[in-house]
Symmetry: C2
Subunit: 185 residues, 2 copies
């Protein structure tokens, strides 16, 4: 799929997950794409846990995901993203690792879209519960989770159609200025 | 360009900027791609200042960019990214806006790559100086900056070739676990 098309078609589709398993080869491709994002000082601070298998996914979702996200219990794969904020924070309090994780996760979402798979980035998840269930060191911080699945409707386009038609985004004039703050672009 | 190709070819090319101006139409395409990223609760917390014009770019780079980034003084366009961390932080201290900005910026970088333009995300920039020069409200936080330019070598491929051949990334086994922390993927 063309890059700008993938950017336009990527949308959050937790209601459209097939239970069909996702091939390891595709998960690898997606994670490799993720690793190619830039990061401050090339630190690559992102870490991932792939959760695969009906029982494993159900256990993690039931215990750690909020009520609104219980629908992803049927996903064949979850990808959970972590960084170590403390280790990646400068003495002046600045940290780049959360932004770096965002850069990497967008690659993940776009690569999945390109491969015809559906995703749905989620933050309404208990990092503390994940730590307990998955033996995650206390110093790691949960950033975001997404299911990874084939679309229930058989094609990405069909699965995404309705949601894309309802998409709401700010206009450029609400978020872009020219040469100084407040000056119209 | 195919999505996975753009993800692979996107690299940081501050040494390869042409002074040729970038058409407004392309800047708009890139910013629209940026706006299509997901964000926590669809808050779209990202804000952009486009700096264009030789004098404007030189002024901003000279005053606010660190020594190592002075080379981007020749760029025809800079894009500066901000969020309001305070406004987007929950009572428990969690904030999603830095990750959201990362999601949007990766779309920006990939859309530029797709259009044959070079970028270079930079954090070695003084947010305080930017605030002074560009009348940015004190509550806004600088996240990242990038030049946006045609490649000095005439084609993106030529500009990127050497740098891509030197790319260093962690192997998947250094950053991905399976079903629990520390378990090989």
């Amino acid at each position: 799929m063309e890059t700008l098309e993938a950017i336009k078609k990527r949308t959050s589709l937790k209601e459209h997950l097939s239970t069909r398993d996702v091939e390891r080869e595709k998960i690898v491709k997606i994670l490799e794409a993720t690793s190619l994002a830039p990061s401050a000082m090339n630190k690559q601070p992102w870490r991932f846990i792939v959760v695969q298998g009906k029982k494993n996914v159900e256990d993690v979702v039931t215990k750690a995901f909020w009520e609104t996200n219980q629908v992803v219990k049927k996903a064949p794969v979850l990808i959970l993203v972590f960084v170590n904020i403390k280790e990646n924070t400068f003495p002046d309090g600045k940290t780049f690792c959360l932004t770096d994780a965002g850069l990497a996760v967008e690659n993940l979402l776009l690569a999945a879209t390109d491969l015809g798979l559906v995703t749905h980035p989620m933050t309404a998840v208990s990092g503390d519960e994940l730590k307990k269930i998955l033996s995650i060191p206390d110093e790691m911080d949960f950033v975001i989770a997404t299911p990874l699945a084939y679309p229930a409707e058989g094609s990405y386009e069909k699965a995404a159609q309705e949601r894309l038609s309802q998409r709401t985004r700010k206009e450029l004039k609400e978020m872009v200025y020219m040469n100084a703050w407040g000056k119209p672009f």
